[in-house]
Amino acid sequence: MRAMILKEFRELRRDHRTMGMLIGMPVLLLVVFGYAANFTVDNVPLAAVGPKAQQVAQQVEVIAQAPFDVVEVDPGGNAATAEDLLQRDSVDVAIDTGQQPPVAYIDGSSLFTAQTSIAAFNRLGDQVTVEILFNPELKTSWVMVPAIIGLILTFIGTIITSIGMVKEKQTGTIEQLAVMPIKPSTVILGKILPYFLLATLDMVMVTLLGMVLFDVPFNGSVGVFAIGAGLFLFVVLGLGVFVSTISQNVGQAIQTAFFFLLPQILLSGFIFPLEAIPWGVRWISYFLPLTYFTMVSQGVMLRGAPLDALWFPLIMLAIMAVVIFTGAVLRFRRNLAPGDGRRSKPKVSA
């Protein structure tokens, strides 16, 4: 028994990934749940439009226990302006002061923000009329499904791709591929394309299923959604390829992929609203591709946001796609052609 326990500890000590899961994971979970796990939003960006915008903006800021942060005042605006601001995700609440009583338009696609805002306006009684846009019944499924599409793509892209790639290494066939007269780029494309197509198929299936089962609307452009999803796929496939390059077998690949998945599940904003996560932890969210895909998918599906309203998450996804995918492919290429191609080197005398 003693020998067995000793052997197990010795093996564990040398298995850095498992040690990472044993030590790193509890620390991560503690930090995330301790600081980030917060459904209470205390900073809601608000816009006031219409003739009394200035006056209302001042009043809103002094409402007791109000979480509002007035970021835009547009006396020339109207109801359409307010809706546009919400659609572009410039603010989460827009008050049109041109109506009597003023109408507070609330973005229903930001679930917890909307609930916080409604509670604040309810305290004002009939001084303000509340109208929820994009998710009038504040259905959780409407907000979750667009994000879950991204989560599923992350699973497929990262875990399945890394397994497929690392299998070649584990069975030694990667050397065979390296010796065959096939260009490394052809091998890499040939390995990645099937996963890209399968992930695309999954994405279409899950999106349609979400729409049918949960009545989730698709208010925006399919093209914009496709651009976001395509870029996101490159990022997660790149992560899968990267994981395969730092793993020697399938077990290691799954373990490593898990390290990339967990932060995305917890910090990308679809479980805990980004606005509720303190900056000490929130900065991590902005390095996670799922954060940006969720912005795009919720924006397109629920708010019908146009391309120019989603430029920031799309640009971020594009940058990540270029950096991660290129880096991962170059690393994988090194596995395929570890020799430097120089078949003659002079001997250097000592």
Partner: protein, 268 residues
């Protein structure tokens, strides 16, 4: 193909130290050595799978090299036919050419009845033979086989060697690694490696005949640093005349390889 004075280093470990190798057309060249001798590294250096620190490799185009790694050499979740189709397609073989060659190779390898079976479900011997067929599919000028017979039962080893010999007889230059000295004796040229250094090279006959000394069979060795257990007794190497009355036998390739290794160890 020729490799001259190859040196390969992995970090601080000198995996190959000034090793040269020639692979004549129509001949089998066997690279022999124990575990960690540098056999696989040498083959990998020949096909640019590891970076060389010094030396040069003069090898034919990749399209004319057949390579079978130390692993299975085939894709376990593809059937025999699917493996053939993938490799044939990768080498750009026309369908009719591929069909003819696959029929011929798989028949000679005794795999024609298992063409629909997944490679992962083949026995060890069958899987190695499939790996060999895949490496030979495009009729390479140079066939590189990394420990093709390791782990095989004696019958499978004989069958695989028949295929290898046939390939050499058809004009292919074959270079293979092995830990079995009886296999090395069948090769045209042998290179004995030990800890990355070439100890001996040449035809098995030349290597044995040019090696100095004799072997004494004894029950109580007097030079323990140059003696090793053989059956119930010992074989002991003497560089010149052994003690009078000793029972001497001729050197074999196995003796020469062991003695060369022991001499390197003791630095004599």
């Amino acid at each position: 193909m020729s490799a001259y004075e190859l040196t390969v280093r992995f970090g601080h470990v000198l995996a190959l130290d000034d090793v040269s190798l020639q692979t004549p057309t129509g001949q089998i060249t066997a690279v022999v050595g124990g575990d960690g001798a540098g056999k696989t590294t040498l083959l990998e250096a020949l096909v640019d799978l590891v970076p060389i620190e010094a030396g040069s490799v003069d090898s034919p185009a990749r399209s004319t090299i057949g390579f079978m790694p130390a692993g299975a050499g085939s894709w376990s979740e593809l059937s025999v036919d699917e493996n053939v189709a993938f490799v044939g397609g990768s080498y750009g073989l026309a369908t009719d050419v591929l069909t003819t060659r696959a029929d011929d190779l798989l028949t000679r390898a005794g795999l024609s009845d298992v063409r629909d079976r997944l490679a992962g479900q083949l026995s060890g011997g069958m899987r190695k033979k499939l790996g060999f067929c895949l490496a030979m599919l495009h009729e390479p000028q140079l066939l590189i086989l990394d420990e093709p017979s390791t782990g095989l039962d004696p019958v499978s080893r004989v069958e695989l060697w028949r295929l290898i010999s046939e390939a050499a007889a058809r004009g292919t230059a074959v270079v293979l690694t092995t830990t079995y000295l009886d296999e090395a004796e069948r090769a045209g040229t042998v290179l004995v490696l030990e800890r990355g250094k070439a100890l001996l090279s040449g035809s098995p006959q030349d290597v044995v005949s040019s090696y100095p000394g004799v072997i004494v069979q004894t029950d109580s060795p007097t030079r323990p640093q140059f003696a090793w257990r053989h059956g119930t007794g010992y074989r002991e190497w003497w560089p010149d005349d052994p003690p009078k009355g000793s029972t001497t036998t001729a050197l074999t390739l196995e003796d020469v390889s062991i003695v060369a290794s022991l001499r390197q160890e003791v630095g004599s």
